[in-house]
Symmetry: C2
Subunit: 191 residues, 2 copies
Protein backbone atom coordinates (compact mmCIF):
# COMPACT_ATOMS: atom_id res chain seq x y z
CA UNK A 1 0.00 0.00 0.00
CA UNK A 2 1.73 3.08 -1.29
CA UNK A 3 0.80 5.67 1.32
CA UNK A 4 1.84 3.34 4.15
CA UNK A 5 5.17 2.56 2.46
CA UNK A 6 5.75 6.29 1.99
CA UNK A 7 4.97 6.99 5.67
CA UNK A 8 7.43 4.26 6.70
CA UNK A 9 10.16 5.70 4.43
CA UNK A 10 9.57 9.29 5.50
CA UNK A 11 8.71 8.92 9.19
CA UNK A 12 9.84 5.44 10.27
CA UNK A 13 13.12 4.89 12.06
CA UNK A 14 15.20 1.73 12.25
CA UNK A 15 16.35 1.20 15.84
CA UNK A 16 18.83 -1.36 17.15
CA UNK A 17 17.72 -4.97 17.47
CA UNK A 18 15.74 -5.00 14.23
CA UNK A 19 13.05 -2.73 15.67
CA UNK A 20 11.20 -0.41 13.29
CA UNK A 21 9.83 2.62 15.08
CA UNK A 22 6.57 3.87 13.56
CA UNK A 23 5.53 5.76 16.68
CA UNK A 24 4.71 8.99 14.88
CA UNK A 25 1.89 7.54 12.74
CA UNK A 26 0.90 3.98 13.76
CA UNK A 27 1.76 3.42 17.40
CA UNK A 28 1.95 5.93 20.23
CA UNK A 29 0.69 8.55 17.78
CA UNK A 30 -1.95 7.36 15.33
CA UNK A 31 -2.50 9.17 12.03
CA UNK A 32 -6.28 9.14 11.60
CA UNK A 33 -6.33 9.63 7.83
CA UNK A 34 -3.69 6.95 7.29
CA UNK A 35 -5.39 4.27 9.38
CA UNK A 36 -8.77 5.10 7.83
CA UNK A 37 -7.24 4.48 4.41
CA UNK A 38 -5.65 1.27 5.70
CA UNK A 39 -8.99 0.09 7.08
CA UNK A 40 -10.66 0.71 3.73
CA UNK A 41 -7.89 -1.17 1.93
CA UNK A 42 -8.26 -4.16 4.26
CA UNK A 43 -12.03 -4.08 3.71
CA UNK A 44 -11.61 -4.14 -0.08
CA UNK A 45 -9.42 -7.23 0.25
CA UNK A 46 -11.71 -9.23 2.57
CA UNK A 47 -15.16 -7.80 1.84
CA UNK A 48 -16.41 -11.04 0.25
CA UNK A 49 -15.27 -13.27 3.13
CA UNK A 50 -18.34 -12.81 5.32
CA UNK A 51 -16.27 -11.40 8.22
CA UNK A 52 -18.38 -11.27 11.39
CA UNK A 53 -15.68 -10.39 13.91
CA UNK A 54 -12.27 -8.77 14.02
CA UNK A 55 -9.72 -10.16 16.45
CA UNK A 56 -6.58 -8.29 17.50
CA UNK A 57 -4.27 -8.03 20.48
CA UNK A 58 -3.70 -5.11 22.85
CA UNK A 59 -2.43 -2.46 22.63
CA UNK A 60 -1.19 -1.30 19.25
CA UNK A 61 -3.47 -3.53 17.16
CA UNK A 62 -6.62 -1.95 18.59
CA UNK A 63 -6.58 1.27 16.57
CA UNK A 64 -6.40 -0.36 13.14
CA UNK A 65 -8.83 -3.08 14.21
CA UNK A 66 -11.65 -0.77 15.35
CA UNK A 67 -11.28 1.55 12.37
CA UNK A 68 -11.45 -1.45 10.02
CA UNK A 69 -14.42 -2.90 11.90
CA UNK A 70 -16.45 0.17 10.89
CA UNK A 71 -16.15 -0.83 7.22
CA UNK A 72 -17.24 -4.41 7.95
CA UNK A 73 -19.95 -3.21 10.37
CA UNK A 74 -18.85 -5.87 12.84
CA UNK A 75 -17.43 -5.86 16.36
CA UNK A 76 -13.80 -6.12 17.47
CA UNK A 77 -12.42 -8.42 20.14
CA UNK A 78 -8.95 -7.83 21.51
CA UNK A 79 -6.86 -10.42 23.32
CA UNK A 80 -5.36 -9.19 26.57
CA UNK A 81 -1.83 -10.00 27.58
CA UNK A 82 -2.80 -10.74 31.17
CA UNK A 83 -5.93 -11.50 33.15
CA UNK A 84 -7.16 -8.33 34.83
CA UNK A 85 -9.74 -7.70 37.55
CA UNK A 86 -12.42 -6.87 34.97
CA UNK A 87 -12.22 -10.28 33.26
CA UNK A 88 -14.22 -13.21 34.55
CA UNK A 89 -15.62 -16.43 33.13
CA UNK A 90 -13.95 -19.05 30.96
CA UNK A 91 -11.05 -18.08 28.72
CA UNK A 92 -9.26 -19.16 25.60
CA UNK A 93 -5.53 -18.71 26.02
CA UNK A 94 -2.34 -19.13 23.97
CA UNK A 95 1.29 -18.35 24.73
CA UNK A 96 3.29 -16.00 22.56
CA UNK A 97 6.82 -14.65 22.73
CA UNK A 98 7.46 -11.02 21.79
CA UNK A 99 10.82 -10.48 20.07
CA UNK A 100 10.37 -6.69 20.34
CA UNK A 101 9.70 -6.71 24.05
CA UNK A 102 11.73 -9.84 24.87
CA UNK A 103 9.06 -11.41 27.01
CA UNK A 104 6.46 -14.17 26.87
CA UNK A 105 2.79 -13.31 27.19
CA UNK A 106 -0.26 -15.48 27.51
CA UNK A 107 -2.93 -14.02 25.25
CA UNK A 108 -6.41 -14.45 26.65
CA UNK A 109 -9.87 -14.03 25.13
CA UNK A 110 -13.07 -14.69 27.13
CA UNK A 111 -14.94 -17.59 25.53
CA UNK A 112 -18.18 -15.60 25.45
CA UNK A 113 -16.81 -13.23 22.76
CA UNK A 114 -15.99 -15.83 20.07
CA UNK A 115 -18.42 -18.43 18.79
CA UNK A 116 -18.22 -21.27 16.30
CA UNK A 117 -20.43 -19.26 13.95
CA UNK A 118 -17.91 -16.40 13.74
CA UNK A 119 -15.88 -15.71 10.63
CA UNK A 120 -12.83 -14.03 12.06
CA UNK A 121 -10.42 -11.56 10.48
CA UNK A 122 -7.25 -11.21 12.54
CA UNK A 123 -5.65 -7.75 12.39
CA UNK A 124 -2.35 -6.61 13.87
CA UNK A 125 0.11 -3.79 13.35
CA UNK A 126 3.24 -5.94 12.93
CA UNK A 127 4.03 -9.46 11.78
CA UNK A 128 7.60 -10.65 12.29
CA UNK A 129 8.16 -14.22 13.46
CA UNK A 130 4.41 -14.72 13.58
CA UNK A 131 4.14 -15.49 17.28
CA UNK A 132 1.14 -13.26 18.01
CA UNK A 133 -0.78 -14.21 14.85
CA UNK A 134 -0.21 -17.93 15.46
CA UNK A 135 -1.45 -17.52 19.04
CA UNK A 136 -4.57 -15.72 17.77
CA UNK A 137 -5.15 -18.42 15.13
CA UNK A 138 -4.97 -21.10 17.81
CA UNK A 139 -7.62 -19.19 19.78
CA UNK A 140 -9.87 -18.98 16.67
CA UNK A 141 -9.43 -22.74 16.22
CA UNK A 142 -10.13 -23.45 19.90
CA UNK A 143 -13.41 -21.53 19.54
CA UNK A 144 -14.34 -23.64 16.50
CA UNK A 145 -14.70 -20.39 14.54
CA UNK A 146 -13.67 -19.92 10.91
CA UNK A 147 -10.53 -17.96 10.07
CA UNK A 148 -11.40 -15.65 7.17
CA UNK A 149 -7.91 -14.23 6.96
CA UNK A 150 -5.16 -12.17 8.51
CA UNK A 151 -4.48 -8.49 7.75
CA UNK A 152 -1.22 -6.93 8.88
CA UNK A 153 -0.07 -3.33 8.59
CA UNK A 154 3.69 -4.04 8.40
CA UNK A 155 5.19 -7.47 7.77
CA UNK A 156 8.89 -7.90 8.40
CA UNK A 157 9.30 -10.33 5.51
CA UNK A 158 12.90 -11.14 6.43
CA UNK A 159 11.79 -12.66 9.73
CA UNK A 160 9.79 -15.35 8.00
CA UNK A 161 6.54 -15.50 9.94
CA UNK A 162 4.44 -14.28 7.01
CA UNK A 163 5.79 -16.73 4.48
CA UNK A 164 5.22 -19.62 6.91
CA UNK A 165 1.57 -18.58 7.24
CA UNK A 166 1.23 -18.39 3.43
CA UNK A 167 2.71 -21.90 3.12
CA UNK A 168 0.05 -23.14 5.56
CA UNK A 169 -2.61 -21.66 3.27
CA UNK A 170 -3.61 -18.74 5.51
CA UNK A 171 -5.26 -15.88 3.57
CA UNK A 172 -2.68 -13.28 4.65
CA UNK A 173 -2.66 -9.69 3.41
CA UNK A 174 0.14 -7.37 4.54
CA UNK A 175 -0.21 -3.73 3.55
CA UNK A 176 3.57 -3.33 3.51
CA UNK A 177 6.18 -6.10 3.43
CA UNK A 178 9.74 -5.17 4.38
CA UNK A 179 12.44 -7.39 2.89
CA UNK A 180 15.37 -5.80 4.67
CA UNK A 181 16.29 -3.00 7.09
CA UNK A 182 20.09 -3.20 6.83
CA UNK A 183 22.07 -0.04 7.60
CA UNK A 184 18.86 1.74 8.51
CA UNK A 185 17.51 1.42 4.94
CA UNK A 186 14.01 0.01 4.59
CA UNK A 187 13.57 -2.06 1.41
CA UNK A 188 10.04 -3.19 0.50
CA UNK A 189 9.12 -6.44 -1.22
CA UNK A 190 7.91 -5.84 -4.77
CA UNK A 191 4.46 -7.19 -5.50
CA UNK B 1 -25.97 9.23 26.98
CA UNK B 2 -28.96 6.96 26.77
CA UNK B 3 -27.68 4.12 24.58
CA UNK B 4 -24.54 3.77 26.70
CA UNK B 5 -26.57 3.72 29.93
CA UNK B 6 -28.82 1.07 28.41
CA UNK B 7 -25.82 -1.06 27.37
CA UNK B 8 -24.41 -0.81 30.91
CA UNK B 9 -27.77 -1.84 32.43
CA UNK B 10 -28.34 -4.70 30.00
CA UNK B 11 -24.82 -6.05 29.47
CA UNK B 12 -22.65 -4.67 32.28
CA UNK B 13 -21.84 -6.74 35.33
CA UNK B 14 -20.83 -5.56 38.80
CA UNK B 15 -17.89 -7.64 40.02
CA UNK B 16 -16.34 -7.66 43.49
CA UNK B 17 -14.10 -4.78 44.52
CA UNK B 18 -16.25 -2.12 42.87
CA UNK B 19 -15.29 -3.28 39.37
CA UNK B 20 -17.82 -2.78 36.57
CA UNK B 21 -17.30 -5.27 33.77
CA UNK B 22 -18.20 -3.84 30.36
CA UNK B 23 -16.16 -6.38 28.43
CA UNK B 24 -18.91 -7.33 26.02
CA UNK B 25 -19.22 -3.86 24.44
CA UNK B 26 -16.46 -1.44 25.52
CA UNK B 27 -13.39 -3.40 26.52
CA UNK B 28 -12.22 -6.80 25.32
CA UNK B 29 -15.11 -6.75 22.86
CA UNK B 30 -15.86 -3.37 21.28
CA UNK B 31 -19.31 -2.62 19.86
CA UNK B 32 -18.58 -0.64 16.70
CA UNK B 33 -21.96 1.07 16.42
CA UNK B 34 -21.94 2.05 20.08
CA UNK B 35 -18.46 3.58 20.08
CA UNK B 36 -19.18 5.38 16.80
CA UNK B 37 -22.23 6.98 18.45
CA UNK B 38 -20.13 7.81 21.51
CA UNK B 39 -17.45 9.43 19.32
CA UNK B 40 -20.07 11.56 17.60
CA UNK B 41 -21.54 12.59 20.95
CA UNK B 42 -18.10 13.63 22.25
CA UNK B 43 -17.51 15.59 19.03
CA UNK B 44 -20.80 17.48 19.45
CA UNK B 45 -19.75 18.50 22.96
CA UNK B 46 -16.23 19.69 22.09
CA UNK B 47 -16.50 20.67 18.41
CA UNK B 48 -16.00 24.38 19.13
CA UNK B 49 -12.87 23.87 21.27
CA UNK B 50 -10.36 23.76 18.42
CA UNK B 51 -9.17 20.27 19.40
CA UNK B 52 -5.94 19.43 17.53
CA UNK B 53 -5.01 16.22 19.31
CA UNK B 54 -6.63 13.45 21.31
CA UNK B 55 -4.69 11.96 24.20
CA UNK B 56 -5.56 8.64 25.82
CA UNK B 57 -3.84 5.78 27.61
CA UNK B 58 -3.34 2.20 26.50
CA UNK B 59 -5.09 -0.16 26.12
CA UNK B 60 -8.82 0.28 26.58
CA UNK B 61 -8.91 4.03 25.86
CA UNK B 62 -7.52 3.58 22.36
CA UNK B 63 -10.70 2.37 20.66
CA UNK B 64 -12.91 5.29 21.71
CA UNK B 65 -10.06 7.75 21.13
CA UNK B 66 -9.34 6.80 17.50
CA UNK B 67 -13.02 6.59 16.58
CA UNK B 68 -13.59 10.05 18.07
CA UNK B 69 -10.47 11.42 16.33
CA UNK B 70 -12.15 10.72 12.99
CA UNK B 71 -14.86 13.28 13.79
CA UNK B 72 -12.30 15.91 14.80
CA UNK B 73 -10.03 14.99 11.86
CA UNK B 74 -7.05 15.04 14.21
CA UNK B 75 -4.50 12.48 15.38
CA UNK B 76 -4.49 10.41 18.56
CA UNK B 77 -1.60 9.97 20.98
CA UNK B 78 -1.72 7.23 23.56
CA UNK B 79 0.39 7.14 26.70
CA UNK B 80 2.14 3.83 27.30
CA UNK B 81 2.33 2.25 30.72
CA UNK B 82 5.98 1.28 30.28
CA UNK B 83 8.89 2.17 28.04
CA UNK B 84 9.21 -0.40 25.29
CA UNK B 85 11.97 -1.14 22.74
CA UNK B 86 10.17 0.87 20.05
CA UNK B 87 10.22 4.11 22.09
CA UNK B 88 13.24 6.40 21.95
CA UNK B 89 13.93 10.09 22.53
CA UNK B 90 12.81 12.34 25.37
CA UNK B 91 9.64 11.55 27.28
CA UNK B 92 6.99 13.19 29.41
CA UNK B 93 6.06 10.93 32.30
CA UNK B 94 3.62 10.89 35.21
CA UNK B 95 2.86 8.28 37.85
CA UNK B 96 -0.62 6.88 38.28
CA UNK B 97 -2.11 4.21 40.53
CA UNK B 98 -4.74 1.84 39.13
CA UNK B 99 -7.40 0.87 41.66
CA UNK B 100 -8.78 -1.75 39.24
CA UNK B 101 -5.45 -3.45 38.69
CA UNK B 102 -3.93 -2.58 42.08
CA UNK B 103 -0.62 -1.41 40.66
CA UNK B 104 1.26 1.79 39.94
CA UNK B 105 2.21 2.69 36.40
CA UNK B 106 4.34 5.45 35.00
CA UNK B 107 2.53 6.85 31.97
CA UNK B 108 4.91 8.00 29.25
CA UNK B 109 4.44 10.08 26.11
CA UNK B 110 7.33 10.93 23.77
CA UNK B 111 7.85 14.70 23.77
CA UNK B 112 7.80 14.81 19.97
CA UNK B 113 4.06 13.96 19.87
CA UNK B 114 2.76 16.88 21.97
CA UNK B 115 3.57 20.52 21.33
CA UNK B 116 2.71 23.78 23.05
CA UNK B 117 0.46 24.62 20.10
CA UNK B 118 -1.76 21.57 20.68
CA UNK B 119 -5.28 21.84 22.04
CA UNK B 120 -5.72 18.49 23.69
CA UNK B 121 -8.87 16.49 24.39
CA UNK B 122 -8.20 13.68 26.87
CA UNK B 123 -10.37 10.59 26.35
CA UNK B 124 -10.59 7.47 28.50
CA UNK B 125 -13.02 4.63 29.05
CA UNK B 126 -13.31 4.97 32.85
CA UNK B 127 -12.88 7.71 35.42
CA UNK B 128 -12.95 6.65 39.06
CA UNK B 129 -10.50 8.31 41.47
CA UNK B 130 -9.09 10.29 38.54
CA UNK B 131 -5.53 8.96 38.75
CA UNK B 132 -5.08 8.36 35.02
CA UNK B 133 -6.74 11.61 33.93
CA UNK B 134 -4.71 13.65 36.41
CA UNK B 135 -1.52 12.00 35.13
CA UNK B 136 -2.51 12.83 31.54
CA UNK B 137 -3.35 16.43 32.51
CA UNK B 138 0.09 16.81 34.09
CA UNK B 139 1.63 15.59 30.81
CA UNK B 140 -0.43 18.14 28.84
CA UNK B 141 0.78 20.86 31.23
CA UNK B 142 4.40 19.70 31.01
CA UNK B 143 4.16 20.01 27.22
CA UNK B 144 2.86 23.56 27.57
CA UNK B 145 -0.18 22.49 25.54
CA UNK B 146 -3.76 23.66 26.16
CA UNK B 147 -6.26 21.29 27.76
CA UNK B 148 -9.52 21.62 25.79
CA UNK B 149 -11.34 19.12 27.96
CA UNK B 150 -11.77 15.57 29.16
CA UNK B 151 -14.27 13.07 27.75
CA UNK B 152 -14.99 9.88 29.65
CA UNK B 153 -17.20 6.96 28.70
CA UNK B 154 -18.11 5.86 32.22
CA UNK B 155 -17.52 7.93 35.33
CA UNK B 156 -17.85 6.22 38.70
CA UNK B 157 -19.28 9.29 40.34
CA UNK B 158 -19.19 7.74 43.81
CA UNK B 159 -15.39 7.54 43.69
CA UNK B 160 -15.06 11.30 43.46
CA UNK B 161 -12.40 11.84 40.79
CA UNK B 162 -14.82 13.51 38.39
CA UNK B 163 -16.23 16.00 40.87
CA UNK B 164 -12.70 16.98 41.92
CA UNK B 165 -11.85 17.73 38.29
CA UNK B 166 -15.03 19.81 37.93
CA UNK B 167 -14.11 21.79 41.06
CA UNK B 168 -10.75 22.57 39.47
CA UNK B 169 -12.58 23.98 36.44
CA UNK B 170 -11.74 21.15 34.02
CA UNK B 171 -14.21 20.93 31.12
CA UNK B 172 -15.23 17.33 31.87
CA UNK B 173 -17.91 15.44 29.96
CA UNK B 174 -18.83 11.92 31.06
CA UNK B 175 -21.21 10.02 28.81
CA UNK B 176 -22.53 8.03 31.79
CA UNK B 177 -22.08 8.86 35.47
CA UNK B 178 -22.73 6.07 37.96
CA UNK B 179 -23.74 7.22 41.43
CA UNK B 180 -23.82 3.78 43.05
CA UNK B 181 -23.34 0.08 42.30
CA UNK B 182 -24.55 -1.36 45.60
CA UNK B 183 -25.92 -4.92 45.57
CA UNK B 184 -25.03 -5.20 41.90
CA UNK B 185 -27.51 -2.43 40.97
CA UNK B 186 -26.14 0.34 38.76
CA UNK B 187 -27.75 3.72 39.53
CA UNK B 188 -26.98 6.60 37.16
CA UNK B 189 -26.69 10.26 38.14
CA UNK B 190 -29.58 12.33 36.85
CA UNK B 191 -28.58 15.24 34.64
Amino acid sequence: MEILERAIQEKGKVLSGGVLKVGSFLNNQIDTNLISAMGKDIYEKFKDCGVSKILTVEASGIAIAVITAQFFNCNTVFAKKSKTANVDGELYSAKCFSFTHKNENTLIVPKEYLSKDDKVLIIDDFLAHGEAVNALISIVNAAGATLSGVAIAIEKGFQGGGDELRKKGVNLYSLAVIDSMENGQVVFRKN
